[in-house]
Symmetry: C2
Subunit: 784 residues, 2 copies
């Protein structure tokens, strides 16, 4: 029951960054509890904790996830493990639990400070006896010390002295949600617990892979100006009116599948000791400094559109906290580490939607994400072989082993089984991954990766396509039958344009890469050819297949046809928009018949226009964009951001802004109603791409980087940074000019840039300024 | 989703006792889940486990309770601790959990075999892929080895081979339910866990009293005729069609607040080892033998009314499983150990409703229940002193320490606070307890207890009344003001007849007892007088007060008046019966006005007529019974059984049978809708009393035992056993005669019995037969 608003002071507010860094809620709403938990997830790239309230109210869903820890036990298919929750602190007063479900809450305010990745909270409770308590908390997962979680809870009786009970611990009673057929399930068992003066220790082990996850925690109570460490997990204290008691919890978490129990215990405890020695304030300072460093590269600041700035930061924040700089054996699931949607599985979302952000802002993470795939090349080879294909077939859904993790069925509302076919048809994932390897190599100039890893992966994926295409003898062309493009409304189609063009690209990219190698280093070509048993004949075959893959095109409409026969499907008009001004299926149609129409779920041809944007003329883009945009229902969060970018390319700023705003709000406003299952990572990555590839117009070329900014009229200035070929560029764009400064350049590379229509090397120091041509002309006129 | 019924064979059915021993359900009903969990609770007097399904379906409420283990942490008031649940076994097939909420269940049958206290179950699941699995289980808490739980689950794929995943463990994720203001809470923390080959070990510690509870468990898998012990808590097995896999779990549980961690661990593990050495079959045999021995005394068999027999056995079963033969420091809560209703607190229910069953069938347990109070005499003295009284004031709600545990407030639906006054007004508990001590001593003839414990308690309770009564100088009588009788509809009344008569009894009982001591052993009197500082003047005062306590009586109505002014309250007629044919408040009245009417909640004057039945003439009983019976709404489960007994006394068999049937069904049919919170222990005890004190007409007298049977016409024969003055009597009653046989008589006491109007010593061997006078007369007539 939320009482009439009163104003309460929260002394943490003084610590808050400016409001463009804050994501806040000012109310308690039980229906939105799970959504807020997702939104307020904190993490450091390896460990993420859903933003559950300390008191675990009824229906709360604590989620503690470590990147790469999966388990199948009790589940239809392997899933990310929900590990013990280190956050619970339960406070009660005379047996009344402070908890917004159990007790009256007269004030409730939560603030995620994106700049310091710290989650603050301020509640005021009123007990049944009408006595108020001030409740303040903050917590962070340290970015500086990757195994550390620090939290603090302050309680102050406002109306009368009170006896306060506090209980805390590491909660092993957590479960994975799973589907209705599975029920909740646990993926670990406790293998050791101990309580010692000064710390508590817990070690759990996953059932299937026997991964140990150890927790050590220490509890400090600050009262009357004195801090003491207690070993109890339940304490009982008398607190006077207006006096404050502070509970501080330091938690270290380590996981390992290789170390022994004794070793992991030692490490976890020594990490705790180290953290305790540093002390609370220093831990905060180190954490904040690490985030400051992070944001100095990752931030996008739009002067003139503070809402967009804040929303972009929110999306970027959620990418940062799930990308590991140290682990090259895990990747980012479609819902990040903020929920259990899609069971933590990795889709093409990672390579095409999320990866670009990391390629440009943190190549180390990008490389790890690609290494995750590279390390599973053998699994992909086995997967291909098992299905009768050559080369490597990456799974549509991937988890820890690299085996196909798409569930083969799901239960429908009526109890019937829905057969899931994505893994047999959405083979575009193969070239999507190859594309990502190529893109990374192009942007970073990381040659060692190119020769050691990218080339092998691009060859093996090209080989897959040689076995996937079939020759249409009559039409003397190669075709890809029984496929599905990004648009999942149309299953089992022939010659999906997206799939076929990407397959073509993949085959030709393999040829190009080998040709380039031959030019640059015949010795290396020999070495690679030997390792991968590549014969010149095979390269020729790739070229032949690539050149002859059929790309459906309607000469009459002068349009790419999404797949064979698409234009013969029923063509309806969109007549209705939903609350978010997004198109709805006309009410005259039934969802089960959507495959008979030209309505599509998400960017498919438009995605192609974006990915291979230099393959299409401006006119081709324009024509195809408008045709497909009008038939897209955007029932995937992957769609709007891409429509924003391509919209800008074809000069439709209105549409671009509409789709950009939509993508930005996805998890800020729970637009799809399922943010409770986790952040829509692809959409988050899409917003970064819409800002940088869209409004800033960034495009990587072999020999230079292009920027073709187009700022909306209310954007006064857009500032951001990117890594390009080993140099860190700070870029500031206004409506009149673009300034680029090299702020780091360890290899002293020469940086060649094309901005607007001007091409030049950047000055090694200071800002290189590019003026917008119209501005120039105006200036000239004035000068003349 | 329950499918159309099919018949499935369950090979356990061959083990079942005859159907008059079985409590069964043939359906899965999620709404009734918590009710069945209560009903199917198993236990051995010290440890009880709610009958939760092994798979812990959604909304299931596992309850594991050890008599006497309470904790307050996080609760408004101390409560019985819900301990880790040792029962979970989770089985899934291709990620589909076998669980009636998650999976289709085509057959579901649970059977509690009361004779062997074994809970059986048979379910048939159908997976989403339409493959059936046969699921059978049984479990028991050993009565022979008090620390042992044994369970078995069998799974058989019926339609196709399947890969079966099984997970098990001791679930520490359990909580106490608490009230809405508390939320769910935990009363223990894990202090040690370890996994070794052959066993798992867990030790938890309660927060407040630091009681250790240790569990050791071993898992055995029987497959292909081979049994093996596994240390894994999750196993994955391929099982062929029609092949059966059996999971057997042996669990030992020990608790201690005094022993060290190492000691308790050693004991728990050695108990497990011992059990394992005995083997499954022998453990069952020992358990069954222990129950056979138990039932040989406790059973009541009514030939001609099998439903009543079965219902009686169900009620008796639930008394047996919560009465400890070994622990004299714990008592039985109002809801037994089968749920968390009233937080496991002990009320007068125990002494007046439950205790008689144990006095007559298991005096050892009865003595322990009384010793629980005796051991808290100091706490009662402190409680009295704190409230300004003399002697001992037992708390209205009691838990482990003997301090008052009645919550002082509760939250109403509208958020307002209801002040709870029972502990300040229902002081009748003091004489209720004294009465129980006296009753026990009378029936058992346990003189050592009488001199050592009962006398002290009866003196201290008498002393309480000396300070509780006030002199009405005008009327020259003693009164008890601001009281509440058993009828809780009327708070804060003066001179509640029940309270006053019992207080009078208490004062005079103390005098009598001391007088008797003076006669029998002046030396002992001296000793007691010295210990308790009793002066002759004090005894005289008790006599004076007892004689002059006002008992409200209406000369006009020739009725006991429930309290001063009761007859001036509005007197309405009952116009409506509910589904159970029990009276409802007339719809013209509002519940908040019930105190202004003569409607009463439960037996109050009628309870008095029962307890002190030799204080009232038949005519007094008849007149008062009918007056109050017509105004009783029976909103307490304590009421019907007493009305059955007194109904019989006044010759109203119809009413007696109606109330008897109602009391019998209380927890068989969830008549009050709250059996999910636990068995109504007082009602269960009441059914035994209704059978024995009612239909068999048993009454203890100082010098003899009286039986005045009155069997309903359809009862062909009623057989039962009771302990009387150290001898075990087997009694068989038919409509024509009563046979009594002494089956145990270690002290060779002479047993003097009055049956019908005949009084005689029982034969030391063989059956002593008493013929019903009418029968005799008939016989004589025939003879003549």
């Amino acid at each position: 029951m939320l009482m009439p608003k009163e104003t309460y002071k929260n002394h943490y507010e003084e610590l808050f960054s400016d409001e463009n860094w804050l994501v806040e809620t000012h109310e308690w709403n039980q229906q939105k509890q799970a959504f807020r938990e997702t939104q307020f997830t904190i993490g450091n790239g390896d460990l993420c904790l859903r933003g559950v309230l300390e008191e675990n109210p009824y229906d709360s869903y604590a989620g503690t996830y470590i990147s790469g820890i999966y388990d199948r036990t009790g589940a239809q298919i392997t899933e990310i493990v929900n590990l013990p929750n280190p956050l619970p602190i339960r406070i009660d007063v005379y047996g009344e639990k402070l908890d917004p479900v159990a007790t009256d809450i007269v004030h409730h305010h939560r603030t995620l400070d994106l700049k310091t990745a710290t989650l603050y909270r301020h509640s005021v409770y009123k007990t049944t006896h009408k006595k108020r308590l001030n409740y303040i908390s903050r917590r962070f997962v340290s970015l500086h010390d990757k195994n550390l979680v620090v939290m603090e809870v302050e309680v102050t009786p406002l109306d009368a002295a009170m006896t306060i009970n506090m209980q805390t611990g590491i909660d092993t009673g957590v479960t994975n949600k799973g589907t209705v057929t599975e029920g909740r399930k646990k993926h670990f068992m406790t293998c050791e617990t101990s309580i010692k003066t000064g710390y508590n220790y817990l070690c759990v082990e996953t059932f299937e892979k026997k991964v140990f996850v150890a927790y050590a925690s220490a509890l400090e109570i600050v009262y009357n100006g004195k801090a003491r460490t207690v070993s109890e997990r339940a304490v009982n204290l008398r607190v006077l009116k207006n006096e404050t008691i502070i509970f501080r919890k330091y938690i270290t978490v380590r996981s390992s599948s290789s170390a022994g129990l004794a070793e992991i215990k030692k490490e976890t405890l020594s990490a705790l000791k180290k953290a305790r020695n540093k002390g609370f304030e220093r831990l905060i300072a180190e954490h904040n400094a690490a985030w400051q460093k992070k944001w100095s590269v990752c931030d996008i600041n739009i002067e003139g559109d503070e809402d967009a700035t804040r929303a972009l930061r929110f999306n970027i924040y959620h990418l940062i906290i799930c990308g590991s700089e140290t682990n090259d054996d895990a990747s980012i699931g479609a819902k990040t580490l903020s929920g259990e949607g899609y069971r933590g599985h990795i889709f093409w979302d990672t390579e095409l939607f999320i990866l670009p952000f990391f390629i440009y802002t943190n190549p180390k993470v990008a490389r790890n994400l690609l290494m995750y795939r590279y390390r599973r090349l053998d699994a992909a080879r086995n997967n291909a072989a098992a299905k009768g294909y050559e080369g490597a077939l990456f799974p549509w859904e991937s988890a820890d082993t690299g085996e196909e993790c798409t569930p083969s069925w799901a239960k429908n509302f009526d109890g019937s089984i829905i057969k899931i076919v994505t893994m047999d048809e959405e083979h575009h994932i193969v070239s999507d991954i190859a594309y990502a390897f190529s893109n990374y190599a192009k942007v970073t100039g990381d040659e060692s990766f190119l020769w050691k890893h990218a080339i092998e992966l691009i060859v093996e994926t090209a080989r897959f396509w040689t076995s996937r295409v079939v020759l249409n003898r009559k039409k003397r062309r190669y075709e890809i039958l029984h496929a599905m493009g990004p648009d999942e409304f149309h299953e089992d189609v022939d010659n999906n344009a997206y799939t076929n063009v990407l397959a073509k690209w993949n085959l030709l990219a393999a040829c190009d890469l080998l040709a380039k190698t031959a030019r640059k280093s015949p010795a290396r070509l020999k070495q690679i050819s030997k390792k991968l048993r590549i014969k010149p004949k095979e390269i020729a075959m790739w070229k032949n297949l690539g050149d002859r893959i059929h790309i459906p095109f309607s000469k009459k409409k002068r349009l790419i046809e999404q797949f064979d026969g698409y234009f013969r499907l029923n063509d309806h008009r969109i007549t209705q928009l939903n609350d978010h001004f997004m198109p709805e299926l006309p009410i005259s149609l039934d969802w089960k018949d959507v495959s008979k129409t030209q309505f599509i779920k998400q960017a498919d041809v438009v995605m192609l226009l974006y990915l291979l944007n230099d393959h299409f003329s401006h006119e081709e883009k324009r024509r195809n964009y408008y045709y497909y945009e009008r038939r897209t229902l955007h029932k995937s969060s992957l769609s709007p951001a891409i429509h924003s970018i391509v919209g800008l390319e074809v000069g439709d700023e209105d549409k671009a802004l509409h789709y950009f705003a939509h993508a930005l709000s996805t998890d800020l406003s729970d637009i799809h109603g399922n943010s409770s299952d986790g952040i829509h990572a692809a959409s988050a990555g899409g917003t970064w791409q819409a800002a940088i590839m869209g409004f800033a117009g960034l495009r990587p070329h072999d020999d230079f980087l292009a920027l073709n900014p187009h700022l909306p009229s209310n954007w006064k200035k857009m500032s951001f940074a990117i890594w390009w070929r080993g140099a860190l560029l700070k870029i500031r764009i206004t409506s009149k000019k673009t300034g680029v400064e090299i702020t780091k350049n360890p290899k002293n590379s020469k940086i060649f840039l094309q901005v607007y229509d001007q091409t030049q090397f950047l000055k090694p120091k200071g800002i290189t300024c590019f003026e917008r041509p119209e501005t120039k002309r105006k200036k000239k006129r004035r000068e003349s």
